[in-house]
């Protein structure tokens, strides 16, 4: 809390002080999506639907960026081949 800036130091228009990538929303998660590589057909629908930039594609396979994944489960719901399971954290 000691790093908080005073109002005179803030940019106008409520423009943020930091990039959104600095806000790690992964710790919100109670269920984590786990991809079954055998079932996945690389259709990329999870990438389309994910509200965060949490679905990663390296040209070969899909993976999940758990630093930002909030565990909303939209990817699991939309996956047409049921390749994503939501597994309780911890």
């Amino acid at each position: 809390m000691s790093e908080l800036k005073g109002w005179r130091e803030l940019p106008l228009g409520a423009v943020p002080l930091k990039f959104s990538t600095e806000f790690k929303t992964g710790d919100w998660r109670t269920f984590k999506p786990v991809i079954d590589e055998d079932k996945c057909v690389r259709c990329m629908l999870c990438w389309v639907y994910c509200p965060e930039p949490s679905i990663l594609w390296d040209g070969v396979r899909i993976s999940i960026d758990y630093r930002y994944c909030k565990g909303c489960g939209i990817c699991a719901r939309e996956c047409p081949v049921n390749a994503i399971r939501m597994v309780p954290e911890g």
Partner: protein, 416 residues
């Protein structure tokens, strides 16, 4: 003389315009990039007239005929965030539907100009004038200027762009004109030449802000060159600080409103008091009436006649209700014995109307202060004739004589 020259002469002359048309002409001349609006009585003429200018190719403005006022102001927010000069207009229920976006516009520091043609709020439904609509929005962070006649509606609309876009301000401005009394009443309006207005308002240039994560200054605009985010989530940690920006900005706007009033006077020969308040006959006044909007004309008429008979009465018209000109009000009225606030709106359950509350609060810390009374008048367009003002004046004079207040808040012209 070519057609183009003929048009220039036409534009520079005195025209018979109603208040709505006067606003539309001011917007036409103010080099506005985007107008998004939805028609509502008694504001409709503004939108109709302006869409004619668009259809006739007389303006470069992108006109967005949206499906509701919520969308109108939302479109204005988007356009203003992109760096455009933006105008919209509404009234009554339309303003009510804009409510949540009012706060977005001021919170994002977007210099949108909006004409509000004051009209009562439902229920029961009523299309005529009172100030309930804008008084409800008095805490939304918008600057509020109330005008007395169509000429002032024209002048103030032009000034509003300059005030809103000033780097020390960057707040949306409401130009409030009384429904029907001004919006539908013809008056000779002096129009400035197009090029004079164009030069006066200039081109909107977004201010630069320092963005820490970029390590440099960038324009406060969604211009596509430097991607920024405006107004995302703030929690307990920063929301309060961002509200302080707005507090400071609207305080700054007092000086800017006065300065713009002066600059405009140099161009046009017309000024409105110091821009914030317009005094009349206050120098030796024992009693005074404080009023907003078109009723000031009636009050002035009554005062002029009474002063000829030696009655020491004056008037203070509040032009800027937000920011409320506390110091100017105290300075103007401190030597008056009895003052009344004429409120054209209600604040149900409060001690009197909004203007009354501001006025009384302004005087609380003053050693000597006048007796301050409240008269609620003109709701739903109820006329306030000179005879009604005369009754108020007589009561004020009586209180000044006896120094005794029987009723603090009175309702003018309502039947028992």
């Amino acid at each position: 003389m070519s057609l183009v020259q003929a048009l220039e002469v036409f534009k520079g002359r005195v025209m018979a315009l109603n208040g709505d048309e006067a606003v539309a002409w001011a917007v036409k001349q103010s080099n506005v990039d985007v107008v998004a609006a939805y028609p509502i009585t008694p504001q409709t003429i503004i939108v109709e007239k302006f869409s004619e200018f668009v259809a006739d190719g007389e303006v470069h403005t992108e006109f967005v005929p949206v499906e509701s006022e919520h969308s109108a102001l939302s479109a204005c927010v988007g356009a203003a965030a992109a760096g455009a000069r933006v105008f919209t207009a509404t009234a009554s229920q339309g303003l009510a539907l804009m409510w949540e976006i009012l706060y977005v516009a001021s919170g994002l520091r977007l210099p949108i100009v909006m004409a509000v043609v004051n009209r009562a709020l439902s229920a029961p439904i009523n299309i005529h004038c009172d100030h309930s609509d804008t008084m409800g929005a008095r805490d939304s962070g918008w600057i509020q200027l109330y005008v007395e006649d169509s000429q002032e509606a024209y002048d103030t609309t032009i000034q509003a762009f300059k005030i809103a876009e000033h780097p020390d301000v960057l707040l949306p401005v409401m130009v409030n004109l009384d429904g029907f009394f001004l919006s539908h009443t013809l008056q000779n309006v002096n129009l400035l030449p197009d090029d004079v207005v164009k030069k006066f308002v200039g081109i909107r240039r977004p201010v630069k802000i320092y963005v820490p994560y970029l390590g440099r200054e960038v324009p406060l605009a969604l211009d596509g060159k430097t991607p920024i985010t405006m107004g995302p989530l703030d929690l307990q940690d920063y929301y309060f600080e961002h509200k302080m920006h707005q507090v400071k900005a609207i305080e700054n706007s007092r000086d800017v409103i006065m300065k713009v009033n002066e600059e405009y006077a140099e161009l046009s020969g017309r000024s409105y008091g110091n821009g914030l308040v317009v005094p009349y006959g206050l120098d030796d006044a024992e009693v005074a009436i404080v009023v907003l909007g078109s009723a000031a004309g009636t009050v002035r008429y009554v005062i002029r006649r009474l002063r000829r008979r030696g009655v020491k009465i004056g008037m203070l018209r509040i032009r800027a209700f937000r920011p409320f000109p506390v110091n100017d009000v105290v300075k103007a009225l401190k030597d008056v014995k009895v003052v009344c606030a004429m409120d054209r709106s209600l604040s149900f359950g409060a001690l009197g109307g909004p203007l009354f509350n501001e006025l009384r609060s302004a005087f609380y810390d003053e050693g000597s202060r006048p007796i301050i009374l409240n008269y609620i008048y003109g709701l739903g367009g109820r006329d306030i004739p000179p005879s009604a003002v005369k009754v108020i004046v007589d009561e004020l004079l009586n209180v000044a004589k006896t120094m005794e207040v029987k009723e603090l808040v009175k309702y003018v012209g309502v039947r028992e």
